[in-house]
Point group: D3
Chain length 267, copies 6
């Protein structure tokens, strides 16, 4: 059992209450919610059960995956803590998200990130082949292709989820918000450090491609559909194919505001 | 049984004939086609069976989903009518689509839209949690993330299907054609009316992002890859990141012509 | 048994050795790897088993699909040879790919291309309905929508895999590299030759849309996020929405170098 | 909806209460009980769902079977009434059975009999092939092989369930109790009326074989392990291989008392 | 392909016709019958598909089993011939069996015997562990426990199927009929030849136990429920616990007549 | 982890070696054996995985059952010890059983008894409803119907397994051997102590029915097919319908010798 489950777990307590209400109101979901949430003793158990439901196939048994996920959560309590911060991030930043149980149960972006966190732990502990297997399953189940070696902080909101591609040496710091279809890609076939570094507080719009070992500075905003091939200074807004600076970001941490609009009059 | 099944149902009659021919020609599909189409008495029953096959999981039984879909189709005959108009739209506008049964059975875009129509009915009838569950399943199964509260008219062609993202307060009127990877997104984390309004006859190219509570006027055309952050007048063509007007649309209803090219010489 | 399995099959021999090592190192994968790889006598058998695991559904039995895939592989040995060339392409061009078994087992792009090759053979042999069924399954399982009539050469690397859309009359020659979310689309609703022709050695970046019956010449490079609506001469680099020539490609066959960066100073 | 569901259905009302208590007490069963019982509107719906769960296979979809069972229950309300009488019989006669929900959910004998009642209706309505399919599934799922043409009354307790074999022209009247491994067999390969007739109130012990077109009279008792090849008069007890009369039955309706002992001193 | 499939295969031709009629008459079975019968090219393929459907589990893939069964059928054509003789036996001797497809598709006794024939071939070819696996699956799926080393001839009717137990050194010659719940058991814990030898033409009634290395002579009849612990001469009828001779059998080959009655007046 | 797993576990060590040999010799089983045995750290884990594979259904998830079985094994180490004694009993007494892994993996009788031991623990800890659920699943999966309240000692061999019926107040002491189709039944519909008591060392032949609260004394032998309705003194052999004493048992503990023959000359 991870440390995060000791004493009080506010998110878990709230989720149980939310789910009990949902069971009472929606008989069709009662079976799913009992099996996935209510019969478990901790949020870590719920996550292990729910992700294994989504990642299992006819050739990889759900029981095996569930145990594997628990092994990681038990070994490193920081994994569970990062997942809680991701749930909190969706709750805080997504106006359509009004409960903690919504991202836990229904947000593909959360499922992909949570699965990445397990896969990354495996990679760090020398289990490369198993990590590759999971990378494929995450790509199939959630349309998200994150290299298991990539580093991703906590408090990440991956909105809508699909189409996210992250390369081997990419880094994403804490408190970043990323819309769908974003690529943090490398370039060329040499190995070595070749992928973007996204600093904290950054907001990346839908369909953005950031290519090569370049930095997107703290609190920057990248407008939807942009292709970024040069470093982005902190706290600016960039837009276009290729992306150009069009002004300052409209807040210190655009990730928290989720304001995806940009003013191009200065272009 | 929905009203649309009464008296004659031309699309259903035609589909049965098409499928009987397919069974005779392709033994490998006979089992699937009998189970999914031929043993049923109405098109609504086929849709309920087929969508439930695609949306069921190890934690949500196909029987439960099938009954739920039928409940919606029985309660509101306009849902089935909208689905028929969507089938007709693919038949009329997609040169690769030569039968009614092709979109019904094989077009992911149709499956996603049809599932949205059920989910939207649930949302309107106070079953928000169940709608969220379906939103997740539609996202996983079809890579389409439509908020259940969004309003979408009939006669919609969602070509290729994947990557479609539609926000809570978006509106799509009748007879619109939308390629893959299109986003009708909000911006910011305030609630309220914050998503695009797409008027009838519009054609939206692949990869387009339209952000904020802005209107794309009747019969407009948005070129592939564009990012639209300002209102688009009726009957013009816009292109680019961010999108600019490059000319008039080449027909009154670009959605019906599916001409995705645009002339940029005037830019 | 296809001709490619006779005498020596270097890729198959290497894959068996790689997988035996993986089984010894990773007990959780042993079951999957024995079932999928080690119990089989040829690479063709492995491919038939593995693809059928991924394409089967509750309404289409895995046994039926496995036999169908074998039927194609046995009938036309060039299909298996093209698959081997695709595996070799990922091994040569992707710095994160260090074994032959990785694309075979875990690369969604390879799975989608391999499934296309089976589907294309069916289409060529008059089994259109079955090809449509598979087109839908490939779209659902891998988020790749290739029309079964499209022509695709060998030695193709489809990196990350998801979001690839290829129209009916498109042609992709040998030794092309294509990132995710690329569209080779038609335009308009007339039938006839209406999709792009991609010549050998081309590199197409993430999110590129190429629209209409236009040619992208040998060894050209198309920058990420570009929308191409005019022919691209050989050996140039094009970028933008719409795409413009920004210089010469930095090598004779950009597909082999995978250098996705581009220099826009000349724009 | 069958007539038996109109107005009040005491057994259904009681079962719902019992199951609600079970859900509250046993979280592990909550999912199963919600899916199988609580989300349904009538006992007929529960039976259709539960039997289809048990009879479905990888080649016969649960949805198809559920609809078939409902079709029978809707067409002939006497089927549902007979099932209720069977539930009541277990409740009245089996000291280990203290709730109505126990036979409904957990007694293989009830499941086999209920499935027979559906199969018999199909046989009577000219659907012989489908009845044969179900006969096989009932045999596999419950180890009970009843010919679909056999006639079986209501208020039957089939205790423990397995090994029951009933031939084509057998008749079992109302209020009979039958232990496991009982055979009502024919003999010879001629067609025609060739199987036993069991009158009301009879108790048949474990492992009994009754062979040929012979009558077991009202209120008779057949001791465990007996082989009966001659008619049995009313209200006697028979025992042995072959069975002989050893005395009078100890009550008017041995089926209701379930006293399987017999006194052989008179033999 | 086994030799038995060459040139004409009367049983297969007839079964195809029967099944085509069934598909036309019973839409609910069309899917099952197409998948299991009509899409295949030979009876051996049907058997391999059908048995693998019944023997597969969540931990043993149906594709693997199907290939294994085909391997045996291809290697030894006598296996397929024995299966055809078993089908013919049910057709000839069971008055309730009026088509060849009935035992093939729906008789558990046939499925158990056919599975035994595959398992026996494996045992003979040194694959003991795999044979033990199948022995367990046959026991679970059909309630029949035959030791893989036992020898069983052709033209066997195993009526109703369940409860059959056959020990390691038992022999059953051709043209024997066996009702349900029959045991051919050993006794003691020494190894060596210790099970019954059943000669041709014998009829064994329901629930019979024959124990030890004793012979039941040609054309003998063993009455239902008997326990046989001494050799039975040819052409007699034995009955009782323990079994005694009660007269001559009423035909030369009781197995063909299926007259399970016996006259005990001489006892 | 149960106490039985601490320090050395001879049976588990031996089973691992046996299974490693089997994997090397039989590729088709490698997947099953890795998943079920080799990837686990203790025999208890193997049992929990294997039984949950067999008891899971479409409405009861294998993960839930696996956790439940582990909960019981962890809570009471005597359960695991009894299972080891049952494995040892088959190894010692069944001449066809030459490895410890054979009963563990392939003997239905062992699976039924092991499942009973879990169910009995649940019953003893106040979880009656869950025990009833498992009673039904054990009956369906193994054709064994043991009331969860019955008391069964250790070192039990349940040979062939199917058809075993044990009532609520039955007692079976240690070191008993029981063939298939044995009934330890009650009689009448009163509650209270009403089922047989089987003392240690007893051998019960195939198809035996023992009815009522009667004792079968230490070291007694009950011949196949007998119906026992009176107490059996220690160390005698009884046979017949109804059973009579025919002599002394031929050893002190007939259960260990498995000599099922009996001499009736004295009858």
């Amino acid at each position: 059992m991870s440390q995060s489950q000791h004493s009080t777990d506010h998110i878990w307590d709230t989720i149980r209450q939310e789910v009990e209400t949902a069971v009472a109101n929606e008989p069709i979901l009662a079976s799913f919610l009992h099996m996935t949430v209510l019969r478990h003793k901790s949020l870590d158990d719920v996550i292990a059960f729910h992700l294994s439901s989504k990642l299992a196939t006819s050739t990889m048994d759900a029981r095996t995956l569930m145990e594997l996920i628990r092994e990681a959560l038990d070994a490193d309590p920081q994994i569970g803590e990062a997942m809680r911060a991701d749930i909190q991030a969706s709750f805080d930043r997504d106006p359509a998200c009004t409960t903690f149980s919504t991202p836990l149960l229904y947000y593909k972006g959360f499922h992909a990130l949570a699965s990445y966190r397990i896969m990354h732990w495996l990679w760090q502990h020398g289990r490369q082949t198993l990590a590759l297997f999971l990378q494929n399953r995450i790509s199939e189940a959630f349309t998200v292709d994150i290299h298991p070696a990539a580093h991703i902080g906590r408090g990440i909101m991956l909105d809508h989820g699909h189409g996210f591609v992250v390369g081997e040496t990419a880094v994403i710091e804490d408190n970043v918000s990323i819309l769908h279809n974003v690529t943090l890609g490398g370039t060329g076939k040499e190995t070595g450090d070749r992928h973007p570094k996204i600093r904290s507080g950054v907001l990346i719009g839908a369909g953005v491609k950031i290519l090569g070992n370049i930095e997107v500075g703290r609190g920057a905003k990248v407008g939807a559909g942009s292709v970024v091939i040069e470093p982005v200074p902190p706290h600016v807004t960039v837009v276009g194919v290729p992306a150009k600076i069009v002004g300052m970001a409209d807040s210190a941490e655009p990730a928290l505001d989720m304001n995806q609009r940009f003013d191009c009059r200065g272009r």
